[in-house]
């Protein structure tokens, strides 16, 4: 069990001495689709970044299949939030997705025919093949998001950490992209996705990690998406959330009765 999971042990991360994550302890099972849920500023992006070794960890560790990030880098893709880059950069859609292949190519190496085919295939999966040669500034927000997802898929790794891949994506496209993710999971990929839509998480994901400075709950969506846990995570201020939690518990009772 220990060696085939993502193990987060007593993870504490702080910005300028102000803790943002506090003593996070959990196992994320492999080959499943796990959602990371929490309010704005809960530390979701920080968790993904510290898992990737992009920001220093104050204490604790993260192990992928028992190994540290530095020896596992080649097996993990990270998709940052869309706002983290300058979309006026002079580069085409195709070239951005090709960046996903760079980790497999070395220094000095030019992309091969196979890499171009993979890039094309990934663009097709996110339904962006028509835009391959377009400059990225001439895309809508949702289209930019899909390009980022294509780049992550092009990395073809065992683990995927995605920061809000569905923000700004329309409902129909979200379903398409979720199907892509589910297919990847069925092919043995481990995928962690930051997602704000609790309803969609309940419907499409295997597990959920609820986060707000500390871990408030982690487990299969059926078990952890309860009214109580959501209240704990979001501070109980939002009526709508308790409504969602309530609806979910009714759903679950129904399925249990069936």
């Amino acid at each position: 069990m220990l060696h085939t999971s993502i193990e987060i042990h007593d993870l504490t991360v702080s910005y300028q001495n102000k803790p943002v994550l506090w003593g996070i302890d959990c196992h994320i099972p492999i080959q499943q689709l796990t959602a990371l849920i929490g309010p704005n500023g809960a530390g979701k992006s920080t968790l993904l970044k510290s898992m990737m070794g992009l920001i220093p960890i104050a204490s604790g560790f993260v192990h992928f299949n028992g190994k540290t990030i530095d020896s596992m880098r080649k097996h993990i893709s990270y998709m940052p939030q869309r706002e983290s880059v300058d979309w006026d950069f002079p580069i085409s859609v195709k070239e951005v997705v090709m960046m996903g292949r760079y980790s497999k190519l070395g220094l000095f190496k030019k992309p091969r025919e196979a890499d171009h085919l993979i890039v094309q295939e990934c663009l097709r999966k996110v339904e962006m093949e028509k835009f391959a040669d377009r400059q990225i500034s001439r895309l809508s927000g949702g289209q930019q998001q899909r390009v980022f997802m294509a780049r992550a898929i092009a990395q073809d790794t065992d683990f995927y950490l995605m920061d809000e891949p569905f923000s700004g994506v329309d409902a129909a496209t979200e379903i398409t992209l979720l199907d892509v993710l589910k297919q990847m999971r069925d092919n043995g990929k481990t995928i962690i996705v930051v997602h704000h839509d609790v309803q969609a998480v309940a419907e499409h994901f295997d597990n959920a990690l609820l986060l707000n400075l500390r871990k408030t709950a982690m487990g299969s969506v059926k078990e952890v998406l309860t009214e109580h846990n959501l209240q704990q995570t979001y501070g109980g201020k939002l009526q709508i959330l308790s409504d969602v939690g309530h609806l979910l518990s009714i759903e679950q009772k129904k399925t249990r009765l069936r």
């Binding site: 080649k74 998709m79 880059v85 950069f89 002079p90 580069i91 190519l105 220094l107 400059q135």
Partner: protein, 290 residues
């Protein structure tokens, strides 16, 4: 022959500046070139005190490392000292520049460095300081600038992917194991070397124009990085040639005229990109009407 050497030196300087400058502009760091161009002064003065020459490789390396040091200091003040990033630039370069001025003014008697010349350079004197290779005489400034350009070209050719990705998306770059800090300092090292090599020719103020204006103009006109690099270099060369003849015609400073031309290039690029945009929307309207 003099005209040839001046235009050639100006063009090579402009190309080196345009290439490194494109990455600076894309990283929103063009003011770092301003900072480095002032910060290298104490390096140049001390190298001059030690070697008795204002050009040549010892000066290039000595003053170049002071430039690199200033980019370390700026980063340190910002990251560790938590000084605002623009303030840390302001503090660092004025401090180092002041150090250079003090060096010049206290050692003034035995130094033939003129603070004006540091700020504005004098490309017209380039053909006066010649270096012989076999039986050909080549300006010293051209040799240092040429070597620095070669180094810049080699780095861009070898590491085009790494530079592009760490400029576009540093987090993704780090996530696949690219050392973005190293590439930052390699770029800063290039900028420092270019600045020092260009210092004799165009001076500390004009070099900033060459770092920022041609890349900005090129970015308005092209949407592919490789084309932007080529276009920016071309704009640089045009500025060197047109600047030379403009200066001769006006009987003024050549470096000043070059900077003037780069400004006009940016203006033209803005107009062209506006017109292109208008034509685009016009064409779209036509399509809809049909």
């Amino acid at each position: 022959m003099d005209a040839f050497w001046i235009i050639l030196t100006g063009s090579i300087t402009a190309i080196a500046c345009a290439l490194a400058g494109t990455f600076l502009v894309l990283r929103k760091m063009s003011m770092l070139s301003d900072a480095i161009s002032h910060a290298v002064l104490p390096g140049i003065v001390s190298a001059f005190l030690l070697t008795g020459s204002r050009t040549g490789f010892p000066v290039l390396i000595g003053a170049g490392s002071v430039g690199l040091l200033s980019s370390f200091l700026i980063e340190y003040l910002h990251k560790r000292g938590r000084v605002q990033s623009d303030a840390s630039i302001g503090v660092t370069f004025t401090w180092l520049f002041a150090l250079g001025i003090i060096l010049i003014s206290t050692m003034g008697g035995n130094i033939d460095i003129d603070p004006d010349c540091v700020l504005y350079g004098e490309i017209a004197y380039v053909p006066l300081d010649l270096f012989s290779i076999g039986n050909i005489l080549i300006p010293q400034a051209l040799i240092s600038m040429g070597s620095v350009l070669l180094l810049t070209l080699i780095i861009i050719f070898i590491a085009f992917k790494e530079l592009t990705i760490s400029t576009f998306d540093p987090e993704h770059a780090q996530s696949i194991g690219i050392n973005t800090t190293m590439w930052h300092y390699i770029l800063m090292g290039c900028v420092s070397l270019i600045t020092v090599a260009a210092f004799d020719a165009v001076g500390a103020i004009i070099v900033v124009a060459l770092f920022t204006a041609p890349p900005s103009a090129a970015l308005l006109l092209s949407s592919r990085l490789s084309h932007v690099l080529i276009l920016a270099s071309l704009f640089g060369v045009i500025a060197a040639i047109a600047g030379y003849f403009l200066a001769i015609w006006m009987n003024g400073s050549i470096a000043g005229a070059m900077a003037l031309i780069t400004g006009i290039e940016v203006l033209c690029a803005i107009i062209i990109s506006r017109v292109k945009f208008q034509l685009h929307s016009l064409a779209k309207q036509k399509m809809i009407e049909i």
